[in-house]
Amino acid sequence: MIDVQNVVFEYPGKRALKDVSFRLEAGSITALVGPNGAGKTTLLRCIAALDEPFSGSITINGTDVLEHPRLIHRQVGYLSDFFGLYNNLTARQCLTFIAQIHQIPTSEMEQKVALAAERLEISPYLDTKAGTLSRGLRQRLGIAQAIIHEPQLLLLDEPASGLDPEARISLSDLFLSLRDQGMTLIVSSHILTELEDYCTNMLLLREGRILEHCSTHEKPQEACIEQQVEIKFLEPASGYLEALKSLEGVKEPRVQQDCVLCSVTGDEPALHRMLKELMQRELPVYSFSVRQKRLQDIYMDYAQGDVSHDVSKQ
């Protein structure tokens, strides 16, 4: 679907993207994460054919973005971080205008406007001026504008910023439903806990480089070389640290609240052996669970410079 190869983008005095390469499959929702200034917006703008990289190639469904940017504009919807609306137009007029500039036939225009409004649940506000809409509704209108021409790829830069929790949850549902309708999404955000609800992949960008590109929803045994295990004991957990240390493949057991957390190297059989060993030693275990690495954990590992490979690379 999207193939980005060796993309370099430069601003005067600074290289913003450094040899960025990755590939995304159709129907995926990718979280594009990274600290401020990592190059997330620049990357999205390059994919949307708004900005042209210094070198490298980007193809979407086999179409070269640099050679055929206008063809790409048919396939891509983009909502920028600081998007604007025509405040003195109604939501209907805003959507009709965007439909017109995407050359949607006049006969289909009304239907497309209604469909986009329905998808974003803004139908009751179609005749309200954009300038008087709440922040959440403006965000929805912005997304409705981005999808009115039914793009195959939707790029969203910080779509949830400024939204209340309820609006964020419904945004997650919306992204999943768009994905189910066949769209591929790339969502840049700082709010990692929400990205986790709907993202299938994570692309971690830092100082213009891809630090990690991994799946967020794969099974632990496939995704992890090293897994986090949480064990709860009937008695105070601190008394069993030494016993855990002596087990094969167990690393860094530590007490956290009422349980012990440790890293276990290996796959499902390795976890089974560990549990069996605990039982054989008759340790008073009443809970044994594998904690899937959360998006935030993965991000923090990298953000803090801990780049051990505890997630599988695609």
């Binding site: 430069e10 601003y11 005067p12 005095g13 600074k14 290289r15 949307a48 054919a49 708004l50 210094f54 070198s55 940017p69 206008r70 504009h73 048919r74 891509v76 983009y78 920028s80 600081f82 998007f83 604007g84 609306l85 025509y86 405040n87 003195n88 137009l89 007029q93 205008f97 965007i98 017109q100 500039i101 995407h102 050359q103 504008q145």
Partner: protein, 460 residues
């Protein structure tokens, strides 16, 4: 109302409400009725004069400002990217931006123009041709004002200036200045006595001054609209080559050369005929080429990224991309060089001043290259604030301050002028090129240091 042009449609929604639709003719009619009630004699004269001035206020002042603001507002309100991502055609966007943003002012303008036309015909001894000329002139100059204001507002976008460097009032004033020339000349030509002097010479041909003037304005308007169209193409990700710019420079060379060989109205102002009586047109063409380079210097994005990308494609021999990204000033420079060569060749029949003309052409080009180095020294600096202003300051130092200090010591421009200026004042001698060659080498060396330093910074 539905328009096929999406931008016009949007502007119609934005500009017209029932109240505004009614208000404009109502206010105009109220003023006309007031005049009719207040004045008993020369009513037609007063109404035509008021509507003439009213047109200027609404179309030039109000409309010019609207046009200057049309795209700047989109950029500032973050709606421009939506349009860039769309499939709208550059021509639709050009027409939409130019006439859409000013739609309401044209609504009033057309009413006032109609009032002017019919009331001016009622004035005693009115000449219908003259009234038609004035009306056409108002219409054309109004469009030119708005087109220039819109076009000049696009220049900072082309130069990738930051948002706070958009100065709507500046573009608007530029529009007023350019159109103001035609407006004031037109007003002069509209006077009854001007028909008694209705001729001028261009390339030696006697032409009606009125028609030539109107044609010139129309041509400038068409070029301005074409320039806006080219910008829109660029913004919408079509690939532009420098061919159209080259055509424009060649057009200007030919157009202005026409004024040189006769002491016509414009020719006498520019005065080339006095210095180079046989080669005036070629000198004019050469000067236009040089001016075009300077115009490019101050209207193009000349930052480090452009040159790095250019050299990247150049080394990769991707000539198509080189053609898309090559700075226009290099094209203008080549044309100026060609015009200079033709100027020298044309002067070879005139043994008296061939060497002088050769030295003048070479020194002009060397000074131009020196200035290019100075300008690029600032534009290549990634941390530089207002690089063009800094370059202008130093050019001011080199062309005004230092020479005037030297002249103040008693040295005369006729003897030492060649150190500071092309050899226009000093006559031609090849040795006179030595100082400027030295200045050029020094400027080029400093520029090379800057380029290498910034390059290294980016590639770190």
């Amino acid at each position: 109302m539905m328009f096929r042009n999406s931008e016009l449609q949007k502007c119609y929604w934005q500009s017209f409400s029932l109240q505004r639709f009614i208000a404009m003719p109502l206010v105009i009619m109220a003023i006309v009725v007031l005049i009719l009630l207040a004045i008993e004699s020369n009513r037609a004269e007063v109404i035509s004069a008021v509507s003439y001035q009213g047109f200027y206020i609404i179309v030039f002042l109000w409309g010019g400002y609207q046009a200057a603001n049309a795209l700047v507002q989109e950029v500032k309100e973050n709606t421009w990217d939506n349009q860039r991502l769309s499939l709208v055609s550059p021509w639709d966007l050009t027409v939409g931006k130019l006439f859409g943003s000013t739609m309401y002012t044209w609504y009033g303008g057309v009413i006032l123009l109609a009032i002017y036309f019919f009331s001016a015909l009622q004035v005693k001894d009115a000449v219908p041709d003259q009234v038609a000329f004035s009306s056409l002139l108002l219409l054309g100059a109004g469009m030119l004002c708005q087109a220039t204001a819109l076009f000049s507002s696009l220049i900072p976008l082309r130069m990738q200036a930051s948002r706070d460097q958009f100065h709507v009032v500046g573009y608007f004033i530029l529009g007023l200045i350019v159109s103001g020339f035609f407006y004031s000349m037109g007003s002069y030509l509209s006077a009854p006595y001007s028909y008694e002097h209705d001729e001028m010479k261009w390339f030696g041909q006697v032409i009606s001054l009125h028609y030539f003037f109107l044609s010139s304005m129309l041509l400038l308007l068409l070029w301005t609209m074409w320039a806006i169209y080219r910008f829109m193409r660029d913004a919408l990700k079509f690939k532009n080559t420098p061919i159209v710019w080259a055509l424009f420079v060649i057009f200007c060379m030919v157009y202005f050369a026409g004024y040189a060989d006769e002491r016509s109205y414009f020719g006498s102002i520019l005065g080339a005929a006095n210095f180079y009586p046989n080669n005036g047109p070629f000198l004019y063409a050469f000067v236009v080429g040089i001016l075009a380079v300077y115009l490019n210097f101050f209207s193009e994005n000349l930052n480090i990224i452009r040159y790095r990308t250019l050299f990247h494609h150049w080394h990769g021999k991707v000539w198509k991309k080189v053609g898309h990204i090559v700075p226009m000033w290099t094209v203008s420079l080549i044309l100026a060089l060609m015009a200079g060569i033709i100027f020298v060749i044309a002067s070879s029949n005139d043994s008296y001043n061939t060497e002088e003309i050769t030295v003048l052409v070479i020194s002009s080009l060397l000074f131009l290259l020196r200035d290019a180095c100075i300008l690029h020294y600032f534009t290549l600096n990634p941390n530089g604030r207002l690089p063009l202003l800094a370059a202008l300051f130093y050019l001011g130092v080199f062309y005004l301050l230092i020479p005037n200090i030297v002249f103040a010591t008693g040295l005369k421009i006729e003897y030492v002028g060649y150190i500071f200026y092309p050899t226009f004042f000093t006559g031609g001698d090849l040795q006179m090129l030595l100082p400027v060659v030295g200045e050029l080498f020094l400027a080029a060396w400093i520029l090379k240091m800057r380029y290498q330093k910034v390059n290294a910074m980016i590639e770190q």
